[in-house]
Symmetry: C2
Subunit: 115 residues, 2 copies
Amino acid sequence: MVVDTELTDDEVDRIFRALADATRRDIIRRTLVEETSVSELAGTYDMSFAAVSKHVAVLEGAGLVTKHPYGRERRVRGNPEAIRRAQRLLDAYEQIWRNRIGRLDALLDEPRSTD
Amino acid sequence: MVVDTELTDDEVDRIFRALADATRRDIIRRTLVEETSVSELAGTYDMSFAAVSKHVAVLEGAGLVTKHPYGRERRVRGNPEAIRRAQRLLDAYEQIWRNRIGRLDALLDEPRSTD
DNA sequence: AGTATCTACAACCATTTGGTTATACGTTAC
DNA sequence: GTAACGTATAACCAAATGGTTGTAGATACT
């Protein structure tokens, strides 16, 4: 079952942009390991709670994390499916490269396993 | 031979940031297929040559493309190695997730192949 | 009820980004 | 030599980003 994640340019923009910040990448790491409240996250970074809250919002907007109310907390959970989606995006470039190699081989009339 | 691409936060920032723009992603695609001069690239986007030149500079700064002088042209070439480096970055998150699963299994005292 | 905690959000600010036009320089063509 | 082409870069501008403080709403604690 190929889900065919047809992502818009805007969605892809958001995913990579969200990944382009060390604090946000750290939040992803931590929340992939275990669900963590926003204030718990904020406690370990050298910036205001509001700043961390914004980072979480950026990650949420990109689908890289989800938030789950738990009492007065909002627990943040890393979304491995979104990570895989990003991986597939990069795989596409890798594939373009491999296809190119295949085409060059064809030009050189030098048959080779194309997998 | 594991090269152990020890990337700094800044370098990782630049890579994902460079990927967070549709025009730049298109330039990567095109230059992975074949080396292309900056003006040739610029000809197909609805923006000035200078804007495209800047996009190429951003990609170059992230290591995603390289430029090669050829007469008065600068030919842009996609760098598949940098793409793979980005893939490895995402793989690391995937791995964190998989490790988590392993740990949960351990908690549940439900042994399973840990690869 | 009253207080402390967790969160969201607005307003603000400095810096960066993504675009523009204009200028300058090296290379090719005539 | 001069004109045309390919490129880089500076100066400029609007919008987005990443931070701040302050305010206010829910929820939990006593």
